[in-house]
Point group: C2
């Protein structure tokens, strides 16, 4: 007999997982705390803009949604770096037209996934169902007000997952960490121009890197940009120092002079939107026997600086789906293998995402970093497949697991260090030495 699979959380990852399962023929119930976002206005001001990259696309393609989602996404070719004088400089993400990333609206994507989920007769969505935990002894999924029998639970209930809390109290020797950056983030807006046009370059991810902090902006299809300021919580230059409209205006005018004219609602946004936190959550094991498993942010919440939060969650769905080999699998074996396969990769992207904050807010203005970037691209051109820049492995090579990208990236970085020592332009690289070093990569 095929049992009902309960998926908790209809954010981005939950509906995708539910679709995978429905396609396989399972009876699926998808439970969501909030009401149906398609009938209500959605939460605003707390979600960093999304970038969809190859790992996400691969999963969307597997469930037949790639085309639809493509239609609402905007290719971004690279980082448009804005200096303190307002000069800009595009640093491409990759080397081909295909090596780009795609901006998309979190809420539009969410709606698409819900719509797609509802096309399956064997998939039912319960809105307004706030899960409070899971009782594995009684196989009861607990909700405000009532409990429902649930023998197999897949929890995509977010960074503060109630199901994880239940697992944590039930699994002996459960490892857990929540680690906050000493930074917060604030969303702001660059609206479309009067004629509806994009006020700054549409096909780029804009960065205003300021060493210890930064603002970024991603395009939205209707002509606006969602800006996000990443800024220390405390100290000399910090949110704590920005208490009045005047302080906010002075800070933005000093640090982001070219952006200010495009942000008429800046002060209102600043004080109207909450300051978000940046947390990394690691834990394990992710499963309690064959009864429950964590996926997405519930298993591995990461900071947004590698744009892999949703993408890694979508990849979770693909990996978990690939392990389910029948409509009556041994769930304990499936969940245990999923955890074993996936956990090292989740740890790797969590750490790389934290590192990438430094790259975005600081390194992108460092001549040595830029030289290494150029030399890395050249090495990839000369020895394709052998040398692939770490960023490209993570973003454009879904066949390379995150942990492998991290491992190879560390080796490659040493090579770049060596090749770039004492030179100032890619032309000066000793290519014989380069060949020797690159061929040693294993």
């Amino acid at each position: 007999m095929t049992r009902t699979i309960h998926v908790v959380g209809a954010g981005l990852v939950g509906p995708l997982m539910a679709i995978y399962l429905a396609k396989k023929g399972f009876t699926v119930e998808l439970h969501e705390r909030r009401g149906d976002m398609r009938k209500n206005s959605v939460d605003a001001g707390r979600s960093i803009n999304l970038a969809i990259t190859s790992r996400g696309w691969r999963s969307l393609q597997e469930v037949g949604l790639k085309e639809k989602v493509s239609a609402i996404s905007i290719p971004m070719r690279g980082r448009m770096v804005h200096d303190a004088q307002g000069n800009t400089n595009l640093q491409p993400y990759g080397q081909t037209d295909a090596e780009v990333i795609y901006a998309a609206s979190r809420s539009l994507l969410n709606v698409m996934l819900l719509d797609a989920a509802e096309t399956y007769k064997n998939l039912k969505i319960n809105f307004g169902a706030r899960c409070t935990g899971y009782d594995p002894d009684k196989s009861l999924l607990q909700f405000d007000g009532k409990d429902i029998p649930a023998e197999v639970v897949i929890a995509a209930d977010g960074a503060w997952s109630p199901v994880r809390k239940s697992l944590m109290s039930r699994i002996e020797n459960f490892n857990y960490s929540q680690s906050f950056l000493e930074y917060g983030y604030k969303e702001l807006e660059i609206p479309p121009a009067a004629d509806g046009a994009f006020r700054i370059e549409k096909h780029a991810l804009h960065i205003w890197p300021r060493k210890n902090y930064m603002m970024i902006a991603l395009p939205n299809t209707e002509g606006s940009f969602t800006c996000t300021l990443f800024y220390p919580n405390q100290g000399k230059d910090s949110f704590a120092q920005l208490q009045t409209p005047q302080e906010v205006t002075e800070f933005f005018t000093r640090d982001f002079p070219d952006a200010v004219p495009h942000m008429p609602g800046m002060v209102g946004d600043f004080f109207g939107n909450p300051t978000g936190a940046l947390v990394t959550v690691k834990c394990g094991p992710w499963n309690l026997s064959g009864k429950a498993v964590l996926i997405g942010d519930a298993a591995h919440a990461i900071v947004p600086f590698f744009a892999q939060g949703m993408n890694s969650g979508f990849e979770d769905c693909a990996v978990l789906n690939s392990l389910i080999d029948s409509t009556n699998p041994d769930w304990e074996s499936v969940f245990t293998r999923f955890t074993a396969l996936r956990k090292p990769n989740a740890d790797a992207i969590a750490d790389m995402a934290v590192e990438n904050f430094t790259e975005m807010r600081d390194s992108v203005t460092d001549p040595v970093f830029l030289l290494k970037k150029k030399v890395g691209f050249e090495l990839e051109k000369r020895w394709p497949g052998k040398f692939i820049p770490r960023y490209s492995m993570v973003i454009f090579h879904p066949d390379i697991p995150y942990a492998e990208a991290q491992r190879r990236g560390a080796i490659q970085d040493k090579i770049l260090e060596k090749l770039c020592a004492g030179i100032s332009a890619p032309e000066q690289v000793n290519w014989d030495e380069a060949e020797k070093l690159v061929k040693q990569i294993a």
Copy 2:
């Protein structure tokens, strides 16, 4: 007006802190979940034997308890290493008669601290008071059944601290990690001989190192030894494989042949005592303004392999006490400075304690490790104060903070690596090179 200070937890650290505060003139209430251990039999089978080292002694001396505690403690001069054939070899901890560590019974020490606490008229102990959390808004310390007003709380309520749980839910961006080793521990006993004598060397910490696991034994004043087996939870050689008396007997006979004749109650102990877990807890910030602060295991639970769990907790008390400069201090400033001073040291000893497990179960039989140990002692003799082995810094030099011991230890280890490369005896060291390297230590 002097407010009442509430100390939560009358394990080892809580009473010591309470005594420090009472000596300073504060009105102190000490709350303990359990009944008065002096009237009841105490929990057995879950506490690894204690070793008191210089950091602990310093605090005990400050509150006038050093002599009394000395009377119930047994000096241990080094590690008595037992090989698989039952041969033994004493590896001294230090280089002088003073450089020894002291075994003591946790329960006797606890009783002494409670007795000492009760000599202060301004210190009241509430037994059977199970604290469930702290409400900082209402300044209420919560207990099963009733809440009591508490404006200043010092929580020494252990690795699973209920007060910490309250702080975690109230402090924004609270960092927290619980990390388990994949090992458990089991307490066993070597009773006194028929004539009351110690069956094995009294003045040593015994280790049966077996690469991936080990058994240790510490002497008790009445002639017995408390043995602890540290063993993987799962896998080929693991607790999971020891399910029957026969399996247990075969394992001990194979691995600890010289200990087995001294352990008549081995099988009974094995199945009667619980298997303990080995967890490291890190968190921060430790304080919520001037209202509550965490100390001891509540702030930094560590694994027992450097014998610094209690010693670091006792040092917490000394540090916190040193920051309280009046009977009406600015508690927020005191607690914030305490956290800032102490947290890096707590992190350092947590990491060094995990590393030391490898040293105890494996390295102590490695000729290179032993060579480096000898060379380290020789360097200390030749350049005293300049080179101090890391173990000695942690154990015998309370003036060197843990973080500093870790930092200098890393530099020294590189020096030892260099000096010992390609040699097989301390006599072969290049002492001119040694002098150059040691003088560079900063």
